[in-house]
Every structure is written in C-alpha cells, then in structure tokens.
Point group: D3
Chain length 286, copies 6
C-alpha cells in the first residue's frame, strides 16, 4: 500500500501546517536566507526504518532534498545515518520536527512488527503478524503502512473493505447465526467475512456456516489449541483462516504461535507504538 | 486549550471518514436499523481519563448520545465505566473504534503526565511537567490537550508562538550570541524567547543576554545543579525560567526534580504514549 | 453501504456549492422571503426510486423538509409523487435542480439494475448483477449505492479493497502465473483475489492457482459454457466465484445468465445511466 | 471555459482519491517498481473526443506522460488511438480507470452535442445547441466543458450568473408580471434576464416587458411557430433571443430547428450521456 | 445575493479558525465555564449596517445568540446598539473579534456605497453605483454583498459570468474590432458583453459592433459628455448601457452623475473601505 | 513570518478560484492561446511595496513568471515599475486582478505602517508600531505580514499565542485581580501575559501583579504620562512593556510617542487600509 506522491502531498501538508502556523519565527530570526546546510537524520537505537519515502517527499515540498538514505524496511544498528539532507537552512530547520515526528513513529511501529514477526517465524514460516484498526486517529494510512514495511499484514483498512463481525454485532443481532444470516446476501461477493468467537464450539459453528476467517478472541493458548482441534476433527481447519487476537503480548506470543494459527493480530503495534530515538543534526553549513 | 465544538467537528469528521469509507458494511448487515442500544465505555486499568469531550461530540455527530460520564481529568480505578452511550445500534457500532482510538490515546498521555507530575511535586509544588512538539503527526492539538488535562504544561503549540533557539539554530547562526543578536529586533514583543544550552557557562551567557527561558538540554542532574549555581551566583536565577529537557525518564525524573527547575519537559509523553486499555460493551438492546 | 448523515453532508454541500455560487439571484428577485410552499417531486416514468435519503438530507440542509415520500428501492409507476417537500420558497427553489440532478441519476441507475436483475433471475435466483468501477468521476459512492438500491452487487469500491488482476497487469507481469506469484504473500489475508481471463484454459489455470474469483472477460456465451465445463470437470467450479464481464447488454444478458455464472457485471449500469424523468412542482403557496 | 491546470489539479485529485484509497494493491503486487510501459487509449467507436486536456494533466500528476494525442474536439473513427501514454507501469495502471472514466463521459457528451448540432445546422447555421443545469452532481464544469468542446453553448454555469425565471418562480411570484417586476431593479446590469413561457401570448408579454431571452418550454413545433409569428407581428422577434427547451429529442429536433429559433437546449446531453467505448491497452513494456 | 446558512457556515468557520488556533486561552483562564453574559454591539459612528446576517450565524455557530438587532441595510446614528448578544461568556468573548472584523468591514463598504448613491440620485434616480472586482483577496462574496446591502450594483462576480474586454485584452487582440470578432461566437448567449473604451469614437464603434455595455474608462466628465453625444446622434444611446469607471472620487462623482450615465463604478468602495468604528460591550453577567 | 511556498500555494489558490470560477471567458475569446506577453506592474503613487513574494508565486502557479522586481519593503516613488511579468497572454490576463488585489492591499498596509513608524522614530528609536487582530476576515496572515514588511510589530497572531486580558474579560472575571488570579497557573510558561487598563492606578496594580505587558487603552497622552510616572516611581517601569492602544491617529501619534512607550498599536493599519494605486500594463506582445 503506497499512496502516489500527489496524494501523499496533501497529508504531509496537513502535518506541516499544524507545526508551522504563520511561519518558523525562530529560524527566520537566526538563519540567514539562502544559506545552505547539510544535515543527517541519525537513528540512535537499532530499528527497522520506516517513513523515508514520506520524509523525502516532505523535504522536497520545502525545496530541500534527501541526497542518500537507507531504504524503508532496512534494519539498522544504533547510530546509523538513515538519511542525508541538503537544502536552505531555513527549510531544513522548518521541516526538522515534522520529519522526525513522522519517521520516529513509523519506524517504531515497523520495528515492533519485525521483532514480533521474527519471534513467530520460529514457530511457523507463514504465520502473519497483523495490525488492527486500533491506530492513532487520522493516522490509519501511516500506521498500517508502517506495519507493512515491518513485514506485517495490514488487515482491514476501514469499515468498508471486509466484514468483521465482533462481539457487539453478535449481541445486537442476537447470536452468531442471526449475525451471519444476512451477511452473505447483503455483502458483495468481493469481500471476505470474518467473525470473532470466544469459545471453541463457536469457532466450529462459524466454520460450518462458511465464514472465511475466524478470529479467536481473548482465548488462552489452550483454548486456541482446543479450537484448532475441533476444526481439524471436523475437516474444517483448511477451509478457514485462523486469526488470534486479544491479550497477545511480546511475552506470550510464542505460546500462541506454537498453536499454529494463520495470523496473530495486536492492537498494541499501533496504539502504543514506542517511537525510535532519532535526531537531525546539521553537519555542514555554507 | 479547548476548541469550540464547531471546530472540533471538522477534526472528528476526518477521523470518522478514514474509518468509515463508504459505510460500515458489517453493522448494516447485522444490526437492524432503528434498534437502540445502551453501551458502556470501560477503562480496564487505572488511569486519568481524557477525551470525553471529544468522544461526546463524536457520538452526537452520529446522533447517539453520552448519558453520563466521569469528567476529563478524573483519576479512575480499573473497571470504571467512564461513559454510558445510548443510540441507534448502527451509530454506536460505527463510532466505536474511532471513539476508542481517541480516548485510549488521550487518556494514555494524560495518565503518564499525571504520574510524572505527582513524582516531581514531591520535590517542588510548582515544578511543571511540559510536553514538547514531539507529537504524532496531525495530532498536535489532541496530544497537547491530553497533556493539559493530565495537569501538564502545553509548551509551544507550533513554530510561530514563541522563539526556541535549538542546537541547530546555533550552529547555523554561528554561536549563541549570533543567534540571539537579531531575535529581539525581529520578534514581536508579545513572544517569549527560549534558548537551548548544553553547558553551565552557556546558561549564564544566555541569562546575561536576557532570554526569558533557558532549556538545559541533555545535562546530567549534576550539570543542572552547576548551571543553577552559576545563575544564582550571578543573581540571574530569578530572571529566567529554567526548563530541563532531554534524557529525562520515569526513573531519573526525581533526581532532576531535586535540582529545583521550573519545568521538566519530555517528548515521550506524546511520541511514545502507551494507550489505556478500554473497551465499549453493549449492555442493553431494545 | 450508507454514509452517516454527517459525512453525506459534505458531499451534498459540494453539489450545492457548484450550483449556487454567490446565491440564487432569480429566486431572491422573484420570491418573497418567508413565503412557504409545498412542492412535489414527481416521477414521470416508471422507475425504481433511489436518492430519497440524499434528497431528504439536502432539503434539510436548507431548512426545508420532506413530509412524506416513497422509499428508496420502491418500484413506482409513471406520475408517482415520490416526495412531498415543504419549506421557504427560496430554499425549495434553490435546492430544486441539485435535488433533481441527484435523484434522476440515482434512480436511473437503480432502475437499470433492477430491470437486468429481473431478467437474470429467471435463469437463476442467485445470479448477481454487479457494478464496476466505471462510475462517473467523483460519484463512485452515489453510483455504487444506486446499484445496491436497485438490488445489485457493488463490487470493489476502489483499488484498495480487493485484488483484481486485469489484462494489463498480466501483460506487465508477464503472464498469469507471474502475476499471481507475489499476490498471496503481498496481500492481506482479508482481501479476495480475482483475475480476468480471456480463454477457458486460463480459467482452469487460475482456479488451480487458487484465486477466489475468476472474471470471464469478453467471452461469448459459448466460451463461458466451455470455461464452466472445464472447471466442473476438474472439480473446481465450486471453489471459485465466476463473474462474466465485457460485452454484456440488455439484449444478450439472458444468454449469459443461462450459462450459470455467479455474477454478471456491466459498466453501462453506471457509465451510461439514463436519467429518470422527474420534476419538482410547487403545488401550494402561502 | 477552461480551468488553469492549477485549479484542474484539485478536481482531478478528488477523482483519483476516490479510486485509489490507500493504494493500488493489485499493481503493487503484480508490477515491478520502475518498469516503464507504453500504452494507448483507443476509441472503439466513432466519436468527438473530449477530456484529453484533463487526462493529460491526470497522467502528469502521477509522473506519467502523454506523448501524443488527437485534439479535444476532433471527430475520430472507430479504433483510433486517441492518446499514447508512457510512464511507470504502476502509475499507468493506477490512473487507467480514472482517466477512462473522465474521457468516456466527456467524449460521450461532446459526441451527442456535435451530432445534434450537425442536425440543426441544416436548418440554420446560427442555431445553437445548448446544455442546461441538468448535469451530474459535482460535474457541472466537466459536463459543460464537454458540451463546449462538442460545439454547443454552455448556457448558465450556475444560479448566480444570469436570471432564469421558471414556472415555479412564476407560481411563487403570482404571474409573469409580478415575477418580472423586481427583477430589473434587483439584478445587476451585467446579467441577462430569461423567462420560461408555456404559451405564445406569454411569449409576447415577456418580450413586451423587455426580457433578453424567452424560453419556449415544452411547446410543440406548431406552438413555437405561433409564438414566433406573434413576436414578428409585434416587431419584437429581433429584440429577444428565442430558446426552445423541453421535450426535444434526436427524432424531433429537426422539426424544432425548422421553426427558426436561436437556441435549442436539451437536458439529456448531460443527464443521460452515453459513454463512448474506450480502453487503455499496454502495448510495450521495458 | 445571499448564501444559504449551510454555505455561509464554511466561510465563517475559516474566519473563526484563523483567530482561534488551539483555543482562546485568555477567556479559558479568566471566564468561568457556564457563566452567561449579555453583550451589545455598538456602532460608534453613523453608518449603514451590513453583516448582521453573518454575525448572527457566527454567534450561533458558537451556541450564542443574537436576541435582537437592527436590519442589514438600516442607516443608524452614532451610538446605536446594532445587536444584542447572549450566550456563554467564553463563546461571546471568543467570537468577539471575528464578529467585529466582519461587521465593521461590511458596514464600511455599505456606508460608502449608500453615501455615493445618495449623491448621484440627485442627478438621476436610476443611476447605479457599482462595485468592481477590486475586492480584498478571498472576500469577493462579502465585499460584493456589502455593496448590495448599501444599495449598489454588484457588477460581475467573477471572470466567468460576463465578458468585459479591458485595455489589455484589446492590446493582445490587436484592437477593438479584433477583440470583439470572436466574442459573439465563442460566448454563451446568456452572457452580456462589455467593453472598455478610452475615447468617444471608440464608444461609437463599440456600440455599432453591438456590445451590451460600454465602459468609459478614465474619461473626464467632458469626454463622457462627448461620448454620450456621439451615441445619441447615431441613435445608439438607448441600445447600450453606459458605465463610467476610473478616477471617480467622492469629490467629482456629481460631475460624472450629471452627464447621465447608467452606472458609475468605483474600485475604492471595496479596496479601500474604511471600517466603521464598532465595539462589543458586555453589559450583564450572571 | 513567512509561509513556505507550499503553504502559500493553498491560500493563493483560494484567491484565484474565487475570481476565475469556470474560466476567464473574456481572455479565452480575445487572446490567442500560446501568445506570449510582457507586462509591468506599476505603482502610480509613492509607497512601500509588499506582496511581491505572493504575486511572484501566483504568476508561477499559472506558469507565468516575474522576470525582475523591486523587493518587498522597498520604498518607491510614483510610477515605479515594481515587477515585470512574462507569460502566456491568457495566464497574465487571468492572474491580473487577483495579483493586483493582493499587492495593492499589502502595499497599502506596509506603507501606512512605515509612515507611522517614521513619525514615532523621531521620538524614540525603539518605539514599535504594532498591528492588532483587527484584520480583514480570512486575511490575518497577509495583513500581519504586510505590517511586518512595513517595519511594524505583528503582535498576537491569534487567540492562542499570548494572553491579552481586555475590558470584557475583566468584567466577566470581576476585576483585574480576579482576572489575573488563574492566569499564571493555567497558562503555559512559554506565553506572555498582557492586560488592558484604563487608569493609571490599574497600570500600577497590573505591574505589581507581574504581568509582562500593559496596554494603556484609550488614554489621553496626559493619562499615559501619568501612568508612566506612577510605574517609574514604584520602580516598575522597566519590568513591563508599555503598549498604547485605542484612539491613536496619524494626527495624534506624535503626542503619544513623546510619552515614551514601548509600543503603539493601531487597528486602522489593517481594518481601514487604503489600497495603493497600481496597475498591470501589457507592454509587449509576440
């Protein structure tokens, strides 16, 4: 998922506008117009870099330029120069904070995704780490993209691209069967149907009713295993995609991965992303 | 800092739009139009609640309503019902994720702010905990407001509301004196001037040059103390506001607070906010 | 698929703005401010009505009101009063053209969809009539919604909600197998994969490669039948959804429906929609 | 009427955004980044081409390019290459549908306009074919421009650029004289005044009251002729512009043209435009 | 010309946003939430009031209310209470400056228009005072509307609603005849054609070529009279509208009015509008 | 204060859009596409030029170009060519009015600011002339920037960048002390606090309460002098910035300047700006 630059432009403009207001009065008062500088964006801790595409475009919008950089998705050690910027000193100083705010958040999400992915891969090469819709308000695109750069699965982009019947839908519909009754006829054939279940027998029922994906929600690894076994026994394991969600942490993810799911999703990837420590340093002036 | 509802409307609309797309196809297929439900937003861990004002407006935008709630800024224990919502089932389900994404982030920031504030208050009732401009892209207003609700100081809103001369400005200007030379004449009398210094003697020079605020950047508590002492000795401690920034953590903040600064600021409050665990549960249907 | 009113508001505002400019100078010069009128929107030919939800909101935006109306999706004979409006004469006159432009287009699309659906239902109750992305620029939501109101399938909303590998993708990728190679690993597990094929043997290959949907593109009914037979013979017919597309018209659709596909899609539903003849007549003034 | 590119940019961006969402996931998965392709836009039926200016700009927005093309307004036979595109395969694939949706609609409108114009020109070189405000919602500019490219008259752009007193205005005002009473004093001297009449004697009255344009609404050719005769007899035919509107079709337009009007306007030009069949074919890859 | 409230909302929102930023921090710190106040908007000098419609809507957007007021277009003496406002103290204080900025500008323009109109009416009841396109950037609607409230003619709203061939067009076209040659065929029959001339003989030529309006540009009253005489003599005075423009001031306008033109237009009405002195005073608190 | 071009673009686009509508129909009908012209923007009266940066960008947006020009802030005599433009004749003609509307307003404000500044400088080199928030609605940035170019102080940009307690706040709070009570604790340490006082003793109280800036509102020069004397006597004159505001005119400003304030602010600089007389003349065509 990657927006063309002409659409990315709009989003970055919002970010710039909120920071700039009527102008960067500090830089106007301290930096001579026309003085060019070279600067480096430095990652101070090991990370998976994400956001370079965005930051590159951001600097270009201010007529500065990224001369060279590592690539989105690269794993780098501490103290790596992830990008070298050149441009008018005022432009570089004006963009500094917005650029860093983007790249430190995106890299934070990508790094967490990659770390978890590496953990689960030990238990199954094809297990996916997926994001949820628990993204920062307004940042759905950037948060999901960061997960993708980290190697994760983006899951649904929004409420219109797949059906996901959650506990509250089931309550409102009056049970799993009721909830699923109208879905097939009302929903486009182009969309998958997923349902969230809390018990092994519900997983079985859902599979029998023909859903595409079953989310085992807030189950212990034991309950997950039990669900798998019932599906297997009924010859339905291969007919559905199994997603584990709820209560998964860095600590217990291996236990979940061992149960052999297709997907493990975590809201924390995006709602509690820890930023990567990066800074922009001017290394040369005219 | 609080936007009037008519302006908040616009921002919340963006958040809704990114999640809704062409419609909530799951709720349309599972929930009967016109069925009313009661739901609760529950905080599953102790926290300072922030975002109720926003969430109240969000539900109203979809013609649902918050019947009662705790107040923004309240400290609540785990398992508190922070708000009770009533409305058409489709509206409540459609708003659920956006509402939660707002309130879990804002409460996460407010909670961290309050916790740090309580720590430093032991060392000085008037020490402020301040945010920085290290906010999530596009969320400057919401992140700063969360800090304020937590009891913190919002610091600059953007690049145009005060002068803050940072290391890169000094590099570009060619030293502290050069950087400050034009500031007074170029900057409106309505704006304060802050400068970032890395050494005690720079703090002294800055105070002698008449800045309003001195940021002691990335100093150890010892260096901070040394800076304070030099200012004190020169009769300048009361003439300036002292802000400590850089490298402050939950662990070492008390050591910094003991040095007697006016303000301690932390980027982590906003760039690495851990979301509060909350959920929305439908508790009654027609 | 239905936008909440708060989002629909934005779209309707654009439509109003383009028609109003600086004001409805004719109505200001001819209608006394404060004079209330009753008006009727009349369908002058038999049709499936679509757009009432939108038009109701539009009049409300100008403080007029729809007192009663038929329902979206209703089939009505010629000369039916589809809605009764009441409001200030200037508001009703100002909204007239925008309201009609919406409802005549949406009803035109819904009517064509229903008519084709009725034709194919004779050959199979579950065959779907689907739209394509060949909608009027900027009107994707309204065009797709009209198809849904008519009883049709909305198909993809946009480029990000399902994979559809078309002829040009296959050319660029260098063949069907190449095109499909990366899809599974790169695409979220929440998305279906469809591929367009031009020959029966390609359909077989696609089914063997595990796609979810096969689009038989621009085939004659005979070729469609041949494709079905090959799939059937290989035990793959039930594993895939078959969509017929390209070259389908009102005249030949029955021949296609007889072949037993799951879906027949037509661009003409939306790109060449014939508007329904409707007018707004003021029937009473103060 | 032609928007400068900087304004056209905004409109095309909306069209792109609605189709792209978070990205063209199919092309990302099937097309190698950096691979360049050549493509052709081919008209599969004879038509008057319109929309090349827009499509050229659209491809440029995605960094692709139109190498050569016919010109807006050109009449071309079936199977004409109307434009040759070159660019990154992902850009070309991403823009394909939006570009085609624009050009097939615009060409459809231009083609219908030209065809009718050619019909009426046999009866009078100066008779104009005009559009109405019955355009697709949000597409007023593009629909009117298509009519202009086809050789037609754009008529009013919106409610503020000329006065057109229609039947409902007359009802609200209480008659033609009342309706016209305030118009002259309230309306800027820069605007023309048109009135819609349903009977020959009303046409006379309107001309006597000094309107600039008379719309003979829903009259038979005989009634039109009668209206002309009365005006002629009273020496007023040359003082007013006569526009025939309502009930005009491809079949009866010649009969209307024979009556010698100045203008014949048709809503169907824009509200029921049949798209021209065009496709984009990749003809060469790197 | 009057925008419906739903469109006015958008414009006023922009004005509020630019003044409010992240909130009215002064009022938040000084006014108790929930305290209601009564306030008056007072005109401190005699004027024609304009902008009440806008200001009423603005206060409503912040949930305050205008209880009573004079009417747009009223002439009031110094020290008139033009509107009484009631609402939450924070809302009233927050809106104060934006509301005043609107009403003082609009009233300033309306007052100047009325004053000039009264002057010219002594010389001819039907002479119009007209605005030009010399409005403040972004304020075309508000400036033109103010002129209309003052009793003036709005002239063209923008470049697309009438043809006005100015000196630079004539230079580019290579003379008046060339400039007019294509106009008739290229321009919709719904639009008037005006041309700017600098000499009496050019006025004659323009009239002979059939323009609707002739602008006598920067002529002395004598030259205007001469132009009128030539037209009269050739029986063309009644065929065209005569607009005097350029160099007209409060001082010399009577001399121009005496020559018997149809319209006198002045850029100064809008580009150099002197604001009316008004203030908002809180007269009662809870 | 200077917006980067990428943000300025957005604002200028609004200005263009309001003037262009669907296109410059006059230029399309009179100017041959592709014909290049040279034009001059000429100041017809002595002035301080402001707005060149904006006008340069505006022409570039239409693919025309400013070849050479004086600089923003330059004082020029009557009949100076302030800028030379070259470009396609249609682009230059289309931009003409918008460009002039910007530069004549901005130069008008800059010129008035400079003139007043020169007056007060005779009485004290460091006295500042400041703008207020009394700017034209929507033009806060451009009006403030014009003041800055003229040599003035921009004062507050909006309600969130400094505290200014005005008479109405004091009324609502119940006195100066009440108004100031919460300010220090509620307001960020980065913001200055200003208060408006009407009597010398209030000035003293405000200074004793530690405000940063005191606005002497609507005082006579005598009362100002009295206020200064009380502050001086209490050793507080150097602790506060003194701003005179209200009732200052070109005539009496010297009398105020003589009292030795730090700042004199005038709403008239921006709310009643008289435009500079400038025109754009085409001087050469292809």
């Amino acid at each position: 998922m990657e927006l063309p630059e002409v659409l990315l432009h709009e989003r970055l403009l919002e970010f710039l506008k909120e920071d700039i207001g009527f102008g960067d009065i500090t830089s106007e008062a301290t930096a001579t117009l026309g003085k060019r500088v070279n600067a480096q964006i430095i990652a101070k801790e090991p990370c998976v870099v994400a956001g370079l595409h965005e930051v590159k475009k951001l600097f270009e919008m201010l007529k500065a330029e990224i001369l060279k950089s590592v690539s989105d998705g690269d794993e780098v050690p501490a103290d790596t120069v992830v990008a070298e910027v050149v441009g008018d000193s005022r432009a570089v100083l004006m963009a500094e904070r917005t650029a860093l705010n983007i790249i430190v958040r995106m890299s934070g999400i990508a790094t967490a995704t990659r770390r978890l992915l590496n953990k689960v891969k030990k238990h199954g090469q094809t297990i996916r780490i997926a994001a949820t819709r628990k993204t920062a308000p307004g940042l759905r695109y950037f948060d999901k993209r960061s997960v993708a750069i980290g190697g994760g699965d983006t899951h649904r982009f929004r409420l219109d691209d797949a059906v996901l019947i959650k506990d509250n839908h089931i309550v409102v519909a009056g049970g799993v069967e009721n909830a699923l009754r109208n879905v097939r006829s009302k929903i486009s054939f182009t969309k998958k149907v997923e349902i969230e279940v809390k018990k092994p027998e519900e997983a079985l029922k859902a599979a029998q009713l023909g859903v595409d994906i079953i989310m085992l929600d807030n189950m212990t690894p034991e309950k997950v295993r039990e669900s798998m076994a019932i599906l297997e026994k009924n010859g339905l394991r291969d007919k559905v995609i199994i997603e584990i969600s709820g209560g998964v942490t860095e600590e217990n993810i291996s236990a979940y991965a061992e149960t052999g799911p297709d997907v493990i999703s975590l809201g924390s990837l995006t709602h509690s992303a820890k930023a990567i420590d990066m800074s922009l340093e001017i290394v040369k002036t005219d």
